[in-house]
């Protein structure tokens, strides 16, 4: 099995029966080498023992409808849409939950099966309040698709005409509309099993059952980390992101406002999916054109501040190491990355005693906002109160982040609106633009030039790889290519939940100008071994944190990258739906090939970054002004809810 298909399987908290099925040996002559012959709709196939009927059907190119099944999640077998007839069985069987251990004959669309599926759909629709044309999942809704597939032309068992639940709009990130909930429980499994946060649960029995937060409190008041992974797995419009596009349009339409857009690396690798392209095709420069056509005044690349983050965070790391190794003072090591706001809220809730380990550097999104409303405003003689900063992010947690009260260091709200990839897709469609057809255009200066290092921020391991490229060069004075082919630090790539690498510092060079104010020489680093790790998905973050707490191997690390979302930002909760292991892999491919295409691939070589330090942040990385604008602090929240 590839890494991407085993992701999450080893940390599962799901009930035993919902994890992989444990299957004993079968004594049947047809089962040679663990292969079993099966027959489905008259076609035959050999499958490994334990393959589910659903998996086998895909191999045969048959379609069995599903609703509660999701490739990322453990089996639930609750919607019953996927029932099939297995010869010799009294009842129909759920294809998603039936492991094949014997030769079987399956019918996927017999009379009984079709009748059952139609009834199940009608029962769901009898409890589903919503109008497709007024729903953000219109045309991308699994329930709607099934209704079409099964030719639903009237509501056999009725249809609600009044809402049954109030919307929960308390969260900056996620809106819950339980009127559209089909109780597939994917969100629950996402939250507790895939992410190991555990915000959602079922309350009540039978027809009273309902997906709730702790004590049915508003989402904003519980331990939700805003990762939006549940949105991405919801088959219907019951979960969606808190959508600010109306406000963004209003800003664009207001001639007194200067509307600045920054785009993160991952949306460009995903937005094509909103326009029917297969995953894995980056539309960076077409998107720039579209944003201008929509009316944004400037289009900048978040990669610029990603590079800045690397300089600030890398410097902070070197300072911490010096404090520990040279000054022999107590200091929080390992340093944790802080660019994933889902992860930041996670540690605030679940490991608040480790907040000192979190890099104080803001995320690229927030650094950008702080610079736009100060440096950029000054350069262009625009009153910062007239600037509206919009950030295009693959992430729903970024919406919460830009609304944190501390994120106003420019004197204004640093970032006004966070848009998800999906929301921008909608705006572009609304403007009548077919994105893939557009000509390409570049980012605007001065924050257009980015490096490959900024781009790979979008993939798990990318921040660490970018940081190491810079740290290695700053410390050795040599090109990182001398140590790693094509500057690609391969051990940090891939989709394994946790990755670990050791980088020996065999030689040191002179301290570069940009850091002269902080370090005299690097001799204290010579011979040291830099230990780093990468974890993505909070389930794996939890594993690493528990190891650190227990004094295990990760407590010896110097630097650890954490991303709340599986796959990193490219699998973020604001990315196009669906997301699956294969889709994440394709998006990662797009990101890494874009990295290769850049001529400048290291953050500290980014001329715009160099310029900012020369012109504006003149007291250098981690200097006074950068501390005021580019660094932040955190809030210990704890996991107990008042």
């Amino acid at each position: 099995m590839s890494e991407s298909t085993t992701f999450g399987k080893d940390v599962s908290r799901a009930p035993v029966s919902q994890r992989g099925h444990r299957v004993g040996p079968v004594d049947d002559s047809q089962a040679i080498g663990g292969q079993i012959s099966i027959e489905m709709d008259g076609k035959t196939l050999k499958v490994p023992i334990g393959t589910t009927i659903l998996e086998a059907s895909k191999e045969l190119g048959l379609r069995i409808p599903t609703l509660c099944h999701h490739e990322d999640l453990c089996v639930a077998g609750v919607c019953r849409m996927c029932v099939v007839e297995v010869e010799g069985q009294r009842t129909l069987q759920a294809a998603c939950a039936y492991p094949i251990t014997q030769p079987i004959k399956v019918k996927t669309h017999s009379r009984k099966v079709r009748q059952a599926r139609r009834h199940i759909l009608d029962l769901i629709l009898a409890n589903h309040y919503g109008e497709c044309y007024a729903c953000n999942r219109n045309n991308n809704c699994e329930l709607q698709t099934l209704a079409k597939e099964y030719g639903v032309d009237f509501f056999r068992f009725g249809h609600p005409t009044e809402p049954m639940f109030e919307l929960d709009t308390s969260s900056h990130s996620v809106v819950r509309d339980m009127n559209k909930c089909v109780l597939c429980r994917r969100c629950i499994r996402t939250c507790i099993d895939f992410q190991e946060v555990g915000v959602l649960e079922v309350q009540g029995r039978g027809a009273e059952s309902k997906v709730v937060t702790f004590m049915d409190k508003p989402l904003a008041e519980v331990v939700c980390i805003n990762c939006g992974q549940c949105i991405n797995r919801c088959p219907t419009g019951a979960l969606r992101a808190n959508d600010p596009t109306d406000d963004v349009w209003a800003a664009i339409d207001d001639p007194t406002k200067h509307v600045v857009m920054q785009t993160a690396p991952s949306p460009r690798a995903g937005i094509g999916e909103c326009f029917g392209l297969p995953p894995g095709r980056a539309l960076t420069f077409e998107m720039n054109t579209a944003l201008r056509q929509c009316g944004f005044d400037k289009v900048f690349d978040t990669n610029f501040t990603a590079d800045l983050t690397i300089i600030e965070e890398g410097t902070e790391l070197l300072l911490r190491l010096k404090k520990a190794l040279v000054d022999k003072q107590p200091v929080a090591i390992p340093q944790f990355t802080s660019c994933s706001p889902g992860w930041v809220k996670y540690i605030e809730h679940f490991y608040p005693e480790y907040l000192a380990h979190l890099s104080s550097a803001k995320s690229p999104q927030q650094m950008f906002g702080a610079l736009i409303k100060t440096y950029y405003a000054h350069l262009n003689k625009i009153d910062p109160k007239d600037i509206v900063c919009v950030a295009l992010m693959p992430c729903s947690a970024k919406k919460f982040e830009c609304n944190r009260p501390e994120m106003c260091d420019s004197g204004y709200k640093d970032i006004d609106y966070g848009l998800t990839t999906r929301e921008l897709g909608k705006m572009i469609s609304e403007a009548g633009i077919n994105l893939p057809d557009l000509p390409k255009s570049d980012f605007d200066d001065p924050f257009g030039t980015a490096t490959g290092s900024g781009v790979i921020f979008g993939a798990t391991g990318g921040v660490m790889e970018a940081a190491l490229r810079t740290v290695i060069e700053l410390v050795t004075g040599k090109k990182v290519e001398n140590f790693f082919d094509h500057a690609e630090i391969i051990p940090l790539r891939g989709f394994e939940g946790i990755r670990y690498a050791e980088i020996p510092v065999k030689e040191v060079g002179p301290v570069p100008g940009i850091l002269k104010h902080l370090f005299e020489d690097w001799s204290w680093l010579k011979g040291a071994t830099l230990k780093v790790a990468v974890a993505h998905g909070t389930a794996y973050a939890k594993k690493v944190m528990d190891d650190i707490r227990a004094g295990g191997k990760f407590s010896e690390c110097h630097f650890i990258e954490f991303m709340a979302c599986p796959g990193g930002c490219l699998g973020g909760g604001g990315q196009p739906i669906p997301t699956s292991p294969a889709i994440r892999a394709a998006r990662a491919q797009a990101i890494y090939s874009e990295d290769r295409a850049y001529s400048v691939r290291k953050s500290h070589e980014n001329p715009a970054v160099v310029k900012v330090y020369n012109e504006f942040l003149t007291d250098g990385p981690c200097g006074h002004l950068s501390h005021k604008l580019l660094h932040t602090h955190y809030t210990p929240r704890g996991k107990f809810i008042a």
Partner: protein, 410 residues
């Protein structure tokens, strides 16, 4: 004759006539088993032809054999004492009066499958029995019938703990029971894998009904041939029935499997019945014209609940009662059961108001079939049974009614 309260609130004599359980020499079965190999114990149970007394009727020997064959050093035996089916109280009687026999059966099962730990999952409402059961367990420990090297047999260790149920009917379903024991919501699991392979805490587990375990001890004491000699070919042995409703002598009875409904009614004084609900809420409603049918796995299977319905009973009201029970008790996990039971109940209300068309009634019957076929567990699969059999057998009575008062609309 002692008297205890039954579920519906009436007073019933606990047992009517002597039960065979009383005639078995204490611990004879366990002593015999301790001298046998594991395979021979299972062979004895298999030879008896006994099928599970909890309702599903799975052959007990096969179940034990599967668990015995499973490769794991930790296994469990669980006694299902959740007895939640409306109209059953036989397990309570067995636990009150013959708990030694149940524990003996569990110990034998433990030896047979290689388990060292037994758990009694006791219905919450039966908590008053707990001190008695704990005392019996303590006595059995001092008698070396539980603990290490039972009856001097090296390596034969087994002990039993009692855990209280959480009150939901669905927790009697074996996989929901296991979830509940593990501290989760009591919701049925996907099967396969079955508990004999992946059960409590992921280990192979045998879940048996109280009565099944008591008979297992009797079979080891008296021999498979004795048991097999009673009943029919496919339904061997004796069975306890909890008989309630409109009859003169309700209570717990022991009959051979294969007894006809009319014979049974004669015994309990309910000959004028209009119908009999066999198997509780999840069972079938049998009209008088079919009273020649027998209570056997090959004809009408039952976990032992028999509710006699007298001539004055309103069949729609009966259907409504049962459906209200299922609407309440569905765990809510799967669509057909969660939403289907509500639609059937609404349908009964329409019938009561005389507003249900034939066409919609046919649709509801088809929905009932879907629920039987597509629900995740036995609860949903059996929830439409009563409705479907009443619609089928009493169509004249239920169509064309305008009983607004009964529908609660006046």
């Amino acid at each position: 004759m002692s008297a205890t309260q039954n579920k519906t609130g009436g007073m019933h004599p606990t047992t009517t006539g002597p039960l065979s359980f009383g005639s078995v020499k204490p611990n004879q079965g366990l002593q015999n088993a301790a001298k046998k190999s594991r395979a021979d114990i299972i062979a004895e149970i298999s030879a008896s032809g006994m099928k599970g007394r909890g309702g599903a009727g799975f052959p007990t020997g096969v179940k034990w054999n599967l668990a015995a064959a499973a490769q794991d050093s930790t296994k469990y035996v669980i006694c299902n004492a959740d007895e939640g089916e409306p109209g059953t109280f036989k397990d309570r009687v067995i636990l009150s009066e013959y708990s030694d026999l149940v524990f003996e059966g569990m110990t034998i099962a433990g030896l047979a499958i290689g388990a060292r730990q037994g758990i009694v999952y006791l219905r919450g409402e039966y908590s008053y029995l707990r001190p008695l059961l704990e005392a019996v367990l303590e006595r059995r420990r001092t008698q070396e019938l539980l603990g290490e090297s039972i009856l001097g047999r090296e390596g034969f260790s087994f002990d039993i703990t009692i855990r209280m149920g959480s009150g939901a009917y669905v927790c009697g379903e074996e996989t929901a029971l296991i979830e509940s024991l593990e501290g989760q919501r009591g919701e049925p699991r996907n099967r396969p894998p079955f508990p004999v392979d992946t059960g409590y805490m992921g280990h192979p587990t045998v879940v048996n009904n109280v009565e099944t375990l008591a008979w297992a001890a009797c079979i080891l004491a008296k021999g498979a041939a004795w048991f097999k000699g009673i009943g029919t070919d496919k339904s061997t042995g004796l069975k306890l029935f909890s008989i309630s409703g409109d009859c003169e002598r309700p209570g717990v009875y022991e009959f051979p499997m294969g007894i006809s409904i009319s014979e049974l009614l004669r015994e309990v004084g309910g000959e004028d019945a209009k119908a009999v609900q066999v198997g509780g809420a999840s069972g079938h409603c049998v009209p008088a014209k079919s009273f020649a049918r027998t209570l056997a796995y090959e004809d009408i299977p039952t976990g032992g609940s028999i509710i006699v319905l007298g001539p004055g009973r309103d069949m729609l009201g009966i259907a409504r009662n049962f459906l209200e029970f299922f609407v309440e008790e569905s765990c809510g996990q799967c669509t057909p059961c969660r939403a289907g039971t509500v639609k059937l109940l609404e349908g009964v209300e329409l019938l009561q108001e005389g507003r249900c068309s034939m066409k919609y009634l046919r649709e509801l019957c088809a929905l009932g079939e879907t629920m039987q076929l597509a629900s995740k567990c036995g609860l949903g699969q059996s929830s439409p049974n009563a409705f479907l059999s009443i619609v089928k057998e009493f169509q004249d009575e239920i169509m064309g009614r305008t009983d607004l008062a009964a529908a609660g609309k006046e």
